[in-house]
Symmetry: C2
Subunit: 199 residues, 2 copies
């Protein structure tokens, strides 16, 4: 049974899954879903994910929603301890940044992009303020470390990079955050790296 | 070295940590932080957590922010596989709901409570709509299962319960979601359960 990703090519959340799979050399069967046509709100997607969102991953009987949870699954099943340590402190520190991807980056850089690129209803002033705030916090961390957690790339970096790297599509720039920009380049230089449109 | 929680008694996020510690019988040293006085934005808190938010957990050299990440740490260190399974599917399914706590519940029930109880600036119509949506999704899950993941309580339930149970402080009710209400009662009946103001 092949590993199937229900996917949208312009989604940074779907891209995270494609990126980790590429870095780990795990083959994915990609099934494109037409969001404009509302196919995410109809079977089979809505039966696989009642939240009606992408990405959705299917691995035999295991069906998963949420890009961060999917990264955890792939890393745990095919990445060993390298990409997702399971000691208490290591796992928790990775989770801190998975939560940043789910919260601060989603409501900052991702919302700015939804507004500028897709015309979504967004409180853009709030989204821009949240973007600057999370970039400042990431800059502080990445000024003293090459990676978000530990001294190696983990799923934390895979989860946080895409919407930060796509920030120009949200009408902003990384010019004031050189350590963040250097970290994006470091992720792009990883063996097996795969890009996405706009990156 | 004792396990120290920098805490605010009315915070549902801090309460999650106190609740899991009570359920596992892990003693916590509680250090109350005066948010009204801005103490979360001054040392020692801001040095421990640059995000300037509570809760913060300190366990010797390990310092953690974000309530969901702290639950992962405590469960992994003191809870064995019971509260946080580490097989790929089990861990990922728990993470799906930790992300719901960080995203849908934070922007739904939690935002409604911030607006009604604390007078925070919130798009209340949006927060109410998000609350109904996530309660509907939780109702569907909890109609067919006693717990959010697997057939036993995990950190997923601990992470998602508090702001759902406090929904009356956000001006809403669980009357239309009986399976969610029954699940809240189920969590409250767990051996070792500890409450918080308003619950």
């Amino acid at each position: 049974m092949s590993l199937t990703l229900y996917d949208m090519d312009l989604s940074g959340n779907c891209y995270k899954v494609r990126l980790l799979s590429a870095l780990l050399g795990v083959p994915l069967t990609i099934v494109p879903v037409d969001l404009a046509a509302g196919d995410h709100l109809r079977p089979p997607i809505i039966d696989l994910n009642p939240f009606g969102e992408l990405p959705v991953l299917q691995d035999g009987d295991v069906v998963l929603r949420d890009s961060q949870a999917i990264l955890v699954y792939i890393a745990r099943k095919w990445g060993g301890e390298a990409w997702l340590p399971t000691d208490p402190a290591g796992l928790a520190h990775v989770c801190e940044w998975l939560m940043v991807a789910e919260n601060e980056i989603a409501r900052g850089p991702n919302d700015c992009r939804l507004y500028e690129k897709f015309g979504d209803a967004v409180d853009i002033d709030l989204a821009r303020a949240k973007t600057v705030r999370i970039l400042d916090l990431m800059e502080s961390r990445l000024r003293i470390s090459s990676w978000l957690v530990l001294e190696r790339p983990t799923v934390a970096d895979v989860a946080c990079m895409p919407y930060v790297a796509l920030i120009h599509e949200g009408g902003l720039t990384l010019r004031g955050h050189p350590s963040v920009a250097a970290w994006v380049d470091r992720v792009k230089a990883l063996p097996g790296f795969a890009g996405m449109p706009g990156l």
